[in-house]
Symmetry: C2
DNA sequence: ATGTTTGCATAAAATACTTAGGTATATGGG
DNA sequence: CCCATATACCTAAGTATTTTATGCAAACAT
């Protein structure tokens, strides 16, 4: 994901939220969509993505449907009910993270 | 650092920026300061902090001065010139990260 | 005296990701 | 026809970062 260390830990959040919005996506599509939205800045490698999809499925946050597009396999992932609850939690975490980083790094108040 | 995955990758940024602001701090002081600023939400473990301080020093971003407080050792870290350049870079990265996450996760525009 | 806080440190394990492969189909250019 | 590129899945070894679990020692409060 580029050279920016900060993206570490954000992959599951990105995948879950994207699937919540788009309803249904397959792995390769996720990599392309993220690249497009970020103007090529955020590149999700397949070596990170596929294991993450399998993990989220194992955790019951995603479900899979395998379909054939012509002669090629596609595995469409959808978010489950548990996954939707997880999205709410993850988004709250993201907001908390951003707030904490801002208060840490743009300190307005001097402490005693 | 709590249960929030998103803090992964942010430790160096936090340490560098804090030292840029405060001028001079020792390790234990950094852990307490961060805990205080974040109302106990962000706890930096010593097992993560000390290796990171050593690494940043080895990279020439920090310098150390060992002093005795009574009979106890304290190792005060300060930011170097290279460290200050790194802070500028890291803060730009943080802003880029936040912007990307917002455009990814609060999408206003539908893509083709 | 004993437990907690201060203050340093390292080492093993877990976690997350990168890098580097592997397989196979589809497609466009030369 | 051939070959590079794109599509589409996958795993395994290596690297980086952090957690967890220790260890040592001085200071301080009960």
């Amino acid at each position: 994901m580029g050279t920016n260390q900060l993206y570490k830990g954000s992959l599951a959040t990105i995948v879950l939220k994207l699937l919540e919005e788009k309803g249904r996506m397959y792995g390769y599509q996720i990599t392309q969509e993220v690249k497009a939205i970020s103007d090529g800045e955020l590149v999700i490698t397949e070596g990170a993505l596929y294991p993450m999809l399998h993990k989220l499925e194992a955790q019951g946050l995603l479900t899979v449907e395998t379909e054939m597009a012509g002669n090629r396999m596609r595995k469409y992932y959808s978010i489950t009910h548990d996954g939707q609850k997880e999205v709410v939690y993850r988004m709250a975490e993201l907001e908390a993270f951003i707030r904490q980083m801002q208060s840490l790094l743009n300190p307005r108040i001097e402490l005693a």
